[in-house]
Symmetry: C2
Subunit: 360 residues, 2 copies
Amino acid sequence: MTVSHFDIKKHGYFGADVGGTLAKIMFYEPENDPAISKVRDFVLSSTTYGSTGQRDEKLTVSLPKAKLHFILFETNRMRQAIKLIKAQNILSGVKNISVTGGGAFKFAELVKEELGCIIKKKDEMHCLIHGLNFLLKNVPDEVYYFANPEDDKDEEKAICDVREDMFPYLLVNVGTGVSILKVSNWDDFERVSGSGIGGGTYYGLCRLLTQAKDFSATLEEAVKGDDNSCNMTVGDIYGGSYESLGLDANMTASFFGKLVMGDSYKENVKEADVCKALLYMVTNNVGQIAYLNARLQGLKNIYFAGNFLRTNKIAMKYLSKAIHFWSGGEMKALFLQHEGFFGACGAFLDSEQPNSCESS
Amino acid sequence: MTVSHFDIKKHGYFGADVGGTLAKIMFYEPENDPAISKVRDFVLSSTTYGSTGQRDEKLTVSLPKAKLHFILFETNRMRQAIKLIKAQNILSGVKNISVTGGGAFKFAELVKEELGCIIKKKDEMHCLIHGLNFLLKNVPDEVYYFANPEDDKDEEKAICDVREDMFPYLLVNVGTGVSILKVSNWDDFERVSGSGIGGGTYYGLCRLLTQAKDFSATLEEAVKGDDNSCNMTVGDIYGGSYESLGLDANMTASFFGKLVMGDSYKENVKEADVCKALLYMVTNNVGQIAYLNARLQGLKNIYFAGNFLRTNKIAMKYLSKAIHFWSGGEMKALFLQHEGFFGACGAFLDSEQPNSCESS
């Protein structure tokens, strides 16, 4: 896929991924195109729009004859965003917008009424894979890993340039649940496994077990907690390491297993400990299942993506540690700079394709 | 390993596995041996001993020239059991008893003082594997599976005679944590994987989330619960199945993920639902990790054993369902009639071996 073959008449300027919580937009800015001056002026005039809209300048991608810009806002501000666009007359002349995510269905009528645009609904998984493949190919520093996976505090990132040797790879998409896909080529992917223990398990159990008022608050708690007030280690069972089996004394033998040992343990557990133990449990398990599937498929590159990882560096560090542990240091957990924007990018790329999805 | 080569002078009559909660004993009864008449008369006089001792007659194994009997009692009755044995003078002439489990260390002094017997401490994992291998080889109906894994209600068991083709196999030992071992031959095994999401996770989280007074109570609740008041299905996300990825609408997409959807869901969740959702989460995950490891090791036979499964038919049914699901119906979860007694059996078999373990 080359980078300068976009026909604006077919592709438009936008791709969008409207999820339950966040709406993500990719804006394609071709060089020297007077037709888009109004849109460009509006988008580039600021890095914030309305009360929640944000453009992340660090994510801007320079292609040979165009730039890609990435914007997000809260989906519950969608109606206000549409009003703003209408008032500024930004989308005059745009007939179609390619949209993926649940909002493609939810807001189609409103967009047609207010802006006169047709929303072309695109399959989420196709958009995710196409957007990811495009950015992997065109952004030299798209992929990174944590240089010191065993050190929870050290967040030094290292770049991994995969542009010359992209396929095949394993994509582990950690959202509310977890999907594991083998991506063999540009358009060739299959879901090889998954797990019901994902972001929803973490936050759902946090909601049952703590007073934390939102997802961010549980992560702030997790940083402060001590998971070993909940978790049973090998040392708790054997009084030390179990050497003949190669199990270190500090290894977690049972998540939440310490609570079985007596009421005094239960009384000592703080909410921060519960958040940390849950985060460790979920990410360690995702890492293990990802590793086992990578081994089964004979794949070396494992990318972790998905909403659960957005602004969740602790989870990424835990995933790095898990892959390091389960692979005996042979594999790395790979992460992506444009995390969260692949669907929007893919919707833009797919805009000329006829395969829009329909609500089931 | 033949079945009639036991030298009583070397092996003694007993093997024991003294765990944190339960003590398990195997009694070896050779034919026509007057030296053991006192012990035999005591053991066979009843199927109950003291307040918690129980012999399960259904488990008695008839070998060509001997019988094996299986007895268990609560470890907290150990002191009373030792007093009873002393008062009845049952172990007169027995110099050594082979014991595995934590109690091998805990009660060694007391047994020596009161009964004049030396406790020979045996490695837990070795005893487990040796005992299991011996019973797999000598008991035609040792292995069974559930004939209808997809039907939660139907508990029809089917026998699987493995005596002629025992090795290699995967042993998934589900206790507080989970150990996964590849057993290649009588004395040849290695721990290939494991999981910290096991029985301790289930009961530990139940203790944090419910008022259930003990482990059995949580299982009684689980039978009555509806896990879908906690768990998010594919249908909850997509409004139906996600056909292009082959995901059925009823499939669990995220354990406890429904609690993320809003406060009203949280208010509707009952303790029984939480127990069921936790049991489903833990067993499904154990099944998936077992399946992936079996595939990686190229193994067809997966045995599930361990304390978590004792008197826990619901967990076994869920494991059957999980293996059926993850393997697309190609594999079965196999269970064992003498569940819980392999360590005791192995301690007896290993009694002549010098490799006793020492506390680390």
